[in-house]
């Protein structure tokens, strides 16, 4: 990665971290409802992969831990936060919530709340790309636990069979909700499970964004050049619980501390400082600036935005009638 890119990615990762931590606070304050799944600890995964891909051009789909993926694709953090606040100005107009951020304009095809559900959707997006003949790829970010669903295997089979341009990124954070991978999965290293489908796969450190980037470049090139699907496994860790209702009784504080010593932001920060490209003072200023931006713009916008109108409760259930007249009534509009 070029030095200016590293500096930009550090800024972005700090934004991603502080955004999520501010969500935590807003949830405690009951400004955000429902379920909330936060990303701190895994920032290098999304950032490393998307630096190698083309955000806003390639199609991205993921599970319910989706805020950062949307922002990385180009979503305005204000729209994402407003969605968490349930406001009309939110990404999904307040109809989706934390687990269902969508931004079609930036080709962020959404967050889905059924574990493994996005696998075949991603393959379908790749099928559409194949039919249309574009140079985009589909990128599916999911956790390790999703691989225990049947559709994981069904999708790998079809993706390989039909040579679909889809990159599966497995963010292996070692826990499926509150059950460790050792207790739920016969094979800890997920890329080994993919070999059965003749799909190229690799595994790397998911905490160092530069390592992720190098592996992702190879993976993205493979898929974009028409060689079919690729499976990239990133070994990572989420600092917070699965969702906000999780007190993390299933793992030790020592284990958490061990992972925090390999924090993705600090790894990059310290490397830039060692290279003389950054000072600790500048980094601390960056954190403060980021917090000020989140508070003065993102939170302010979300607080001040209007609620959806109750009259619009049934809007978006079905297609707008006017455009469908002929098919609904048999009479041309």
């Amino acid at each position: 990665m070029k030095i200016e890119d590293k500096k930009r990615v550090l800024r972005e990762m700090v934004l991603h971290r502080r955004f999520e931590e501010r969500c935590y606070q807003a949830y405690i304050e009951r400004k955000i409802g429902g379920f909330l799944h936060l990303y701190p600890g895994q920032e290098a995964c999304c950032n490393g992969v998307m630096e190698a891909a083309r955000p806003g051009h390639d199609y991205v789909i993921t599970g319910y831990r989706d805020h950062v993926h949307a922002i990385k694709c180009g979503s305005d953090p204000k729209a994402v936060m407003a969605e968490l606040y349930g406001k009309e100005t939110g990404s999904s107009k307040g109809r989706g919530g934390s687990m269902h951020i969508f931004d079609a304009a930036h080709r962020f095809m959404g967050g889905y709340a059924l574990v493994g559900g996005p696998f075949p959707l991603a393959a379908g997006i790749a099928k559409a790309i194949q039919l249309k003949g574009g140079d985009e790829i589909a990128i599916c970010f999911l956790g390790d636990a999703a691989n225990n669903q049947g559709v994981f295997h069904e999708t790998l089979n079809m993706a390989a069979l039909w040579n679909l341009p889809v990159l599966f990124v497995c963010e292996n954070n070692r826990y499926g909700i509150g059950t460790s991978i050792e207790r739920s999965t016969a094979v800890v290293h997920q890329h080994k499970r993919v070999a059965a489908y003749n799909i190229e796969a690799s595994e790397c450190d998911g905490q160092d964004v530069e390592v992720v980037y190098e592996h992702a470049r190879k993976a993205v090139d493979h898929v974009r050049s028409g060689k079919g699907p690729y499976f990239l496994e990133l070994m990572t860790y989420r600092y917070r619980g699965h969702s906000m209702s999780d007190s993390r009784g299933y793992r030790t504080r020592e284990e958490e501390e061990l992972w925090k010593q390999r924090d993705p932001i600090f790894i990059l920060r310290d490397r830039l400082i060692a290279a003389g490209e950054l000072t600790m003072e500048a980094y601390e200023a960056l954190e403060k600036e980021t917090d000020a931006y989140i508070e003065n713009e993102v939170i302010k916008f979300s607080e001040e935005s209007p609620e959806p109108r109750v009259e619009d409760l049934e809007k978006y259930v079905l297609a707008d009638r006017a455009s469908q007249q002929q098919w609904l009534t048999g009479q041309a509009a």
Partner: protein, 327 residues
């Protein structure tokens, strides 16, 4: 107007739409090289090739989800699920992805997919190949459900379903693919909403859909000839949304209603029609509406038991006679 079989009508709709729009594709088990279990996709593989006529692995959840994902980008897939019993495996994707995508994305994405599936009790196919499942599909917000009772509807409903921007589930019947009927020679789009008056009458309304329309028509004939009862038959080709206005109009005229469904009674079409009658025109009724439905049993293999489980036109006649105090 040509007399063709119902499978031919479905095949023609596929062919016309695929010739018109390169984004219309079809997929399912054995639909390509083998030509389809019910021949509904016969000849399409040879004409449009493997990229658009996809023989899928036996992975209903997987390929249904794949079709839905492709539809987000404007592809219009027609998915054949060989038997509606297998649709249970695809329902997560149909309901959680296709039906909800427009709403949960605030109108940004849509899933213009068509899911076709053969349901109903055929002959001795046993518990896991005889299900009627329309009741499951018709309760899902964001999903349209239609069900043809003849070749014209099969052709026109599929044409409209492909053009519609909503996901549409088409409930077909295993016993009806070889049924013959008139289909217009020129292009025809059947409305996805509403109901048809299959036979006009004044004394009682018989509500049917798909195969039970034919029980109702046969029963109406017997009631007219043998008992002097004039029955109106309403064909509910749209199960979601149901035609509230059409139901109200007919019951307000005849003041009596019988609902015939091949499905089991609980949480079914009959229950829903009676609820609509109560809500729309309760005080028009001269008698309590009656449901004709199958027994609440997993479908038995034994021929005699199977026949006992599934209603037919005679059960409709009996229900009407009871309604008139003649049985």
């Amino acid at each position: 107007m040509a007399q063709i079989m119902l499978w031919e009508a479905i095949q023609r709709a596929h062919d016309e739409e695929m010739a018109r729009d390169p984004m219309v594709i079809c997929m399912g088990e054995d639909i390509g090289v083998a030509g389809g279990t019910y021949k509904a996709t016969k000849g399409l593989f040879e004409k449009y090739g493997p990229l658009r006529v996809m023989d899928t692995p036996i992975s209903e959840g997987g390929f249904t989800g794949l079709a839905i994902g492709a539809s987000f980008l404007g592809v219009r897939p027609i998915v054949e699920i060989m038997s509606v019993n297998f649709a249970w495996l695809a329902m997560d994707q149909m309901f959680n992805s296709a039906a909800k995508i427009r709403y949960m994305s605030g109108g940004q994405l849509e899933a213009p997919c068509v899911f076709r599936s053969a349901g109903g009790a055929a002959h001795q196919l046993g518990a896991q190949h005889s299900a009627r499942m329309e009741k499951v599909f018709m309760g899902i917000a964001g999903l349209r459900v239609v069900t043809p009772s003849n070749p014209k509807q099969a052709y026109g409903l599929l044409k409209s379903a492909i053009r519609s921007n909503d996901p549409v589930f088409i409930n077909e019947h295993e016993l009806m693919y070889n049924m013959k009927g008139e289909v217009p020679d020129s292009e025809y789009f059947h409305p996805l909403e509403g109901s048809d008056i299959a036979r006009s009458g004044t004394d009682v309304t018989l509500f049917g859909y798909n195969i039970s329309v034919h029980w109702c028509l046969k029963a109406a004939e017997i009631l007219d000839k043998q008992y002097g009862i004039s029955a109106e038959v309403i064909d509910l080709y749209s199960l979601s949304p149901l035609d509230r206005a059409g139901i109200k109009q007919s019951v307000s005229k005849t003041h009596r209603a019988v609902i015939a469904e091949e499905d089991e009674a609980p949480v079914g079409v009959g229950a829903e029609i009676i609820a609509i009658i109560n809500e729309e025109c309760f005080f028009e009724l001269d008698a309590a509406p009656v449901r004709v439905h199958s027994a609440l049993v997993p479908q038995p293999y034994n021929h005699t038991l199977e026949k006992a489980a599934i209603p037919d036109h005679e059960d409709v006649v009996k229900a009407v006679l009871k309604l008139f105090g003649k049985a």
